[in-house]
Symmetry: C2
Subunit: 457 residues, 2 copies
């Protein structure tokens, strides 16, 4: 009966929107391991990082102590254009599944970038602008991050140079065109524009690219140009900080109706969405104020948390980036070509890696065809065509809800619906035509990939 | 200062959502002319119409008297999944234009169909289900209506058969794939599945199709099958009735903040969005309670209101439909192949035609390249990539706001942002590459098209 008071969609009012980001590191007893300089083996200093990142972002990257960091007014103004995002009660999904579970999802897809990535893109563009830079460089895989950054740069009048993983560049011409609409220049990676791109092309002439490789190119392009810095859409602690706006809004919306979740689920590639969604809830858990189950859902074809090794590794294929301690499949790992969508990064955010290592976060992996079954089911029942990435979380949420059906437990499940699949119809078409396949790397393949990565010590 | 209280986005609460549709015909002194049976020349009876449409929809089509029609509970439940749509204050656009005008837009694109079409699709599917039908047939041009109907039929478990204008079918494979995700069958039109399709193909072998032709096929497919009816996404009075939910929400949101618009602008193809958006405001004007300027914006390449003739004409190319009195370019009119997006119907809703004829509604036409200039400008400033259709309204709204800049008038402008352009990137690409062209039919072409349409009496 209390349920009847809960609307299908909970929108915060503008005045209820978060004014600060939440920095989960402040509440972690064991801090995430620092980035290391691969040359010296010592922690990266702010000065060293400032060649790659904007100064304010370097400060955020190294900030393990401040619990709340104010969101600058300019960023809050931009947030108001597309936030708050709705927290949706999945009444139709619950009814269709016949589960006693109560399912909510935080929907981040109602903006032109099509995902949560815009939350950090606008922050990073803002700090670049504030520092008086000309522009920024980045990589993009499935294209969501590149689109988000293009929009953010357009808003602040910054130049935006995107290295797009070649296979996505070719498969997703429309994503590319959206980025062009926002004035970005988009280059398929590996390219001959950079030294590292040329080297990778020489070594692997037929390569369709990888995120790790595109990162290397984007970093090189940034450090060899005046007035440019590199920005990254996931993995880094600064990105998880910005994405905490997802969790802050979710918590505020739940609190408004006195709802306490039992399980919080998110898909995990580099960890930005999951890290942001769970942040304030994890904070409560770390402070002993509440308890929740957190589940990271990753693709079976790129299972860094569930099958990777927790060691120092390079953040990129070309080894131009610092070393990060993380669950990794080896920085040379590239998911099988049949892998659709994002979640193709070889490692995992240091914050999430540490939380997982301490047993504060669970992880599971799901097969691609099972993910698309869940995606189509969800689209028909809840009316939103989900991104392949987001559908990993849908799969796990449905599975948890079906467990509740068996046990009769009325658990409250919250998951992150990170984005929409409008630019992923090639993958949906393969699914409809029955030509979509699964690929699960063997233990040997993973062990070899990890072994041959020189970053791992 | 009062402005500072108005948030970027006004969302109604669930309990504030409209519970009735508003039927503007009840307040029109001069009712729209009735549909005529082309055989007898007499008004179509309910019995005659019931072969094509569901019984409840026939009743709504013929209802010129009831001002408010309750929205059935099941439809309101579906509306709650994706409505209310936000009424957005375009603060960023105002600032960028440097206009004293206050600009608002009602954004209908935050659902997977990508447009307002879902508002009527779910209503029509509901009545079909209620009548115990097996399925429905329809046509789609740019694909928004077909997608919306696929979603609605999936929700109610109805079969959905879509005839898609051939040029769109070929240019928009992803739209087709979204419809397949929702279980619809999609056939390029003209096809050899119907007698009328075969006839049109024989007469014009190279034709890329038209909406009027796809309508003929869909109607034939409905009336020759047991348990099927035809549904239409625009033009009809029943559709404008369902779309009044846009205007009802807009008015409720404005009233909440005591805002009175001066100008209300919408793009116009068949008239469903514009008719729905202006409905309750037009009601006030008709009853002498308030005054507003209403502007219909149509493409220069398909200018039914601004250059058509107000006469009885067939609703479709194949002449299997009744005759409607409307502003028309002739039912054989097909926009030039360079015309992108929707708004390609040869006629205009009888309701809007009558209001225009009485001078209660203004109309203007805009060139395609000017429309895309406005679209890109809007995308960069307001962060939403608009559909080409919606961008006609953006163009006119910007032009009105710039007039205010000249005169210093602080007018309040409301326009309908009917949808997103995520499936229109081919057209955006043409625009970026400078290969997009304009075509304005000559007076001679229009006169000939009107003259050779036998429906015109």
């Amino acid at each position: 009966m209390a349920n009847e008071k809960i609307p299908y969609k909970i929108y915060l009012e503008e005045k209820e929107m978060p004014t600060t980001w939440y920095n989960v590191r402040a509440d972690m007893k064991q801090k995430p391991a620092p980035l290391l300089n691969p040359g010296t083996g010592k922690p990266m200093t702010a000065e060293e990082l400032s060649h790659v990142f904007c100064d304010e972002l370097v400060a955020q990257e190294l900030n393990n102590t401040d619990r709340y960091i104010p969101i600058p007014e300019e960023i809050r103004t931009f947030y108001k254009m597309y936030r708050p995002s709705p927290l949706v009660r999945a009444y139709c999904l619950e009814e269709k599944l016949g589960t006693p579970a109560k399912i909510y999802y935080k929907f981040e897809g109602n903006n032109t970038s099509g995902s949560h990535k815009l939350n950090s893109a606008i922050a990073q563009a803002y700090y670049a602008k504030k520092q008086g830079l000309k522009g920024v460089t980045t990589e993009t895989g499935a294209g969501q991050w590149g689109t988000a950054l293009s929009m953010a740069c357009s808003y602040f009048g910054l130049d935006c140079k995107v290295y797009m993983v070649k296979v996505s560049y070719e498969q997703k011409p429309f994503r590319r065109e959206v980025m062009r609409t926002y004035g970005a220049s988009v280059t398929p990676s590996p390219s001959t524009e950079t030294e590292v791109g040329k080297k990778i092309l020489a070594e692997f002439p037929g390569t369709t690219g990888s995120l790790g490789c595109a990162i290397s190119e984007a970093v090189e392009a940034a450090v060899t140009r005046d007035g440019y810095r590199y920005v990254l859409g996931s993995v880094l602690s600064q990105v998880l900080l910005h994405q905490s706006v997802i969790g802050m809004e979710t918590k505020a919306a739940l609190d408004k109706y006195g709802i306490k979740p039992d399980i919080i689920i998110g898909c995990a590639g580099g960890g930005s969405n999951l890290g942001g969604l769970i942040a304030p809830f994890m904070g409560e858990k770390l402070r002993g104020e509440a308890d929740y189950r957190f589940i990271a859902v990753e693709p079976a074809s790129c299972p860094s948390l569930t099958r990777g090794k927790y060691v120092y590794d390079f953040c990129d294929t070309g080894k131009v980036c610092p070393l990060a301690k993380m669950y990794t499949l080896g920085s040379g790992f590239i998911p099988a070509p049949n892998h659709a969508g994002g979640l193709r990064y070889h490692g995992m955010s240091s914050i999430l890696s540490e939380l997982y290592d301490e047993g504060l976060l669970e992880a599971t992996s799901v097969k691609q065809t099972d993910v698309f079954k869940a995606a189509e089911y969800f689209a028909r029942v809840e009316g939103i065509l989900p991104a392949p990435e987001s559908s990993h979380a849908i799969r796990a949420a449905i599975d948890e809800a079906l467990k509740c059906k068996e046990t009769g437990e009325e658990k409250t499940i919250v998951f992150g619906l990170t984005g929409t699949g409008y630019f992923d119809m090639v993958a949906y078409e393969q699914f409809h035509n029955g030509t979509m396949t699964d690929y699960i790397p063997t233990d040997k393949e993973i062990a070899e990939s990890i072994a041959k990565t020189p970053g791992i010590q």
